[in-house]
Point group: C2
Chain length 66, copies 2
């Protein structure tokens, strides 16, 4: 599923996918695919994104069990 919370947090900081990618040290495509929900990022990448956007793991990446 799409990660709309990540997209909102990024826009909130007025960052493009490319800018956030540079901040966390990955490629633009990686950020784009995570927002599209087509990726299973690593914990370290999730943490880097959280730190860059001032959010926690639960803020951006938590999904409830079914």
């Amino acid at each position: 599923m799409k990660n709309i919370k990540l997209k909102m947090a990024r826009v909130e900081h007025d960052l493009s996918q490319a800018e956030l990618a540079e901040l966390v040290g990955v490629s633009r495509q990686t950020i784009g695919l995570i927002e599209l929900g087509k990726y299973n990022p690593t914990l370290n990448l999730c943490l880097a994104i959280c730190h860059a956007l001032g959010k926690t793991l639960d803020d951006l990446f938590w999904v409830d069990p079914e």
Copy 2:
């Protein structure tokens, strides 16, 4: 760094590494290495572990920025 919070949550549920591994559908080594802090697990695996242990991502995997 070692993930002592994960180990404590696992022991709290009286599970061995092998049992938790089976619950979340990975190998024993993967769980062991995550606890030893020698691994960078994927988000889906982190979520599966959280769901199995009744914890959140922040509970088990959050690390503060330096």
